[in-house]
């Protein structure tokens, strides 16, 4: 089994999920690409990194999260504007055909950008990776209770922010 075959297989199976997670965290496509490149370069430098790993997706998300957090810290210390960058509107969701759904998706992207990165990471893994709080805790190296409370805080903020748009969509 060659390492190049492994890398391609890993990419095809998990790159989309890692891309969405990192893009949601960083809100910057170039930075997201840098994280992905560094992630796969890491596997090239150390092919044994995935030996014995049962949950490859979780492992990749964990590595990507660590790199993204490092990048956020470097960016914050360098430019002191990470929150401003995070709050920037970034096309992270696919554009739905329905205009109301499209507006909802844009509002959701904005609302996610306003969340602190820690809450954003938990929310992403819960909503879009369908992980349990125990799995999220393992991925982000935090207690499960912390993951659950971060998710509740984040969901309350999203609900408050998106409720009007959501109600409109429901009425239709």
């Amino acid at each position: 089994m060659s390492s190049s075959l492994n890398l391609e297989q890993i990419y095809d199976e998990h790159a989309q999920a890692v891309f969405a997670f990192v893009l949601n965290l960083l809100r910057d496509e170039n930075d997201t690409r840098d994280v992905l490149q560094e992630l796969f370069a890491k596997f090239t430098r150390n092919p044994a990194l995935l030996d014995g790993v049962l949950d490859r997706r979780g492992f990749l998300l964990r590595l990507a999260h660590n790199q993204a957090i490092d990048l956020i810290r470097r960016r914050a210390s360098r430019e002191k504007k990470s929150e401003a960058l995070a709050a920037e509107t970034c096309a992270i969701f696919a554009a739905p055909a329905d205009p109301d759904e499209q507006a909802f998706a844009m509002a959701l992207a904005e609302a996610m950008g306003e969340l602190p990165p820690k809450q954003r990471a938990v929310t992403h893994l819960k909503l879009w990776e369908k992980l349990t709080f125990e799995q999220i805790a393992e991925t982000l190296d935090i207690p499960a209770n912390t993951a659950a409370s971060r998710y509740r805080y984040a969901l309350d903020k999203l609900r408050e922010r998106l409720r009007p748009l959501y109600d409109e969509i429901r009425i239709k």
């Binding site: 190049s4 990419y11 790159a15 989309q16 992905l36 796969f40 090239t44 369908k130």
Partner: protein, 125 residues
């Protein structure tokens, strides 16, 4: 996921990863893996702290070099330095003198000779 709001959020799909990224990301990775040959078996073993292992190896090499360079004491044990011709001639002359003496057997003292009268006095005093 408890309520409809959460379900609605989770139904939002993320935009796909740009297709050209696959080549851009995998090409350098594949090139790097092709360039770097497989690591030898001892690499994993040494990996936890290569500096420490290197230092230990250097220390052993130094000990070996010093040991090889130092003169060996055990090799000199039992070796008698070669006698020069003057000593040999003197010794031969003494042996001839002894052989020519009327009583060649040396007197055997019953008691060890007194070392000196001065030391006896000092001991008494």
């Amino acid at each position: 996921m408890n309520d409809e709001f959460e379900k609605h959020l989770s139904r939002q799909s993320f935009r796909p990863i740009p297709q050209e990224w696959r080549q851009d990301i995998l090409r350098p990775a594949n090139a790097a893996s092709a360039e770097s040959p497989g690591k030898p078996w001892w690499h994993e073993w040494l990996w936890p702290c290569p500096q420490a292992w290197g230092g230990l190896a250097a220390a052993w090499a130094l000990v070996f070099v010093l040991h090889a360079a130092a003169p060996s004491d055990s090799a000199n044990v039992g070796q008698v330095p070669p006698m020069n011709w003057q000593t040999f001639a003197l010794l031969q002359h003494e042996m001839e003198m002894i052989a020519q003496a009327p009583d060649s057997a040396p007197p055997s003292p019953a008691h060890p000779p007194r070392r000196s009268s001065r030391s006896v006095k000092q001991n008494i005093g």
